[in-house]
Symmetry: C2
Subunit: 193 residues, 2 copies
């Protein structure tokens, strides 16, 4: 494998498990078996390696979610499937996403709180991408404009909330609770499309 790619993958794994500031570049190098000179040949600083790790996770997470939602009909089934997918993630049943340790983007934003920071911005962009995906499926429900926004907000809030509950409180069933809520709200609001 490309050394650069290996560096990014190794860095991501360690950052996700232990946190970013807690992991030094020396550990990333020892774990990947790559020379320090090579790291600084590909990246000007640790900061840039972190950003690459964030973008790597963005791609793999987004791709995983798309594949899950594409496996069911668009619209309501996909919106409910979102929470099945989250449920599998929380229970660490998705090898591609590594053992669940919260949302990497929320975690990284916690360590780089300044919204002007490039790493924080990359996290915000990831969340925007996932929200767009959700919005796409809400559009399939063919509702009036105001309701579309409200349902999108609801799904996004339920998703983010369940991630927080799963990680901080250790409530690994949070996605199922969120799904139950979404189901009953949708039942009140829309005809079974």
């Amino acid at each position: 494998m490309d050394k650069k790619e290996l560096l990014v993958r190794t860095a991501f794994k360690l950052f996700y498990i232990h946190g970013i500031h807690a992991v030094g570049v020396n550990l990333v190098l020892a774990e990947s078996g790559i020379a320090k000179r090579t790291l600084y040949h590909h990246f000007p600083s640790k900061e840039h390696l972190i950003e690459a790790a964030v973008r790597h996770r963005d791609r793999s997470y987004h791709a995983w979610l798309v594949s899950r939602l594409d496996a069911v009909p668009a619209g309501k089934p996909a919106l409910l499937e979102l929470f099945n997918a989250l449920n599998d993630w929380f229970h660490s049943r998705v090898p591609d996403l590594d053992h669940f340790n919260g949302c990497f983007f929320i975690n990284a934003s916690a360590e780089f709180g300044d919204r002007d920071n490039a790493i924080h911005q990359a996290c915000a962009e990831h969340k925007a991408g996932i929200s767009a995906l959700i919005r796409k499926h809400v559009d399939e429900l063919s509702l009036s404009d105001g309701i579309i926004v409200e349902i999108t907000n609801l799904v996004v809030l339920l998703k983010e909330g369940s991630i927080s509950l799963a990680h901080v409180q250790g409530n690994l069933d949070a996605a199922l609770e969120a799904k139950a809520i979404l189901e009953s709200v949708l039942q009140d609001r829309i005809a079974d499309k």
Copy 2:
């Protein structure tokens, strides 16, 4: 002021702004003007100082929220007031909570991901305390048992979700969006109590 108390307050402020691993004890000492020996007289390690900072924030945050919810009638008004309070917090209009930089407990859990860790556990306990407060107000609505749990879950998920959106995405109006959702769901579910 008590030196121990001053250490904890100073540590909290710095941890909240910059993250925990990013702040060394030397900075806390310089900022507070306290000798290193005094820190290690009161706390056996930085770890214990962190835990004290978490518990300090737990007390002040909980007290603030209780005072906000007690200012309106119990039940539905209090549940809606929760989101007004969050809205003020997100917009940094609550001096007691310092300039908004996400939820300190979510941030700390991101840096100490292991659920066996004492710091992570203290964060989980804080969240449980806030959930209990919410549950208390949902009980006031006098609904059937199943619905009580679902509404409590909804409020908690909306709260956590809006914190995440406000911090990571910089959507400072997330609490108002959550409030709008809660209002319309409650309208469908319950008679105006």
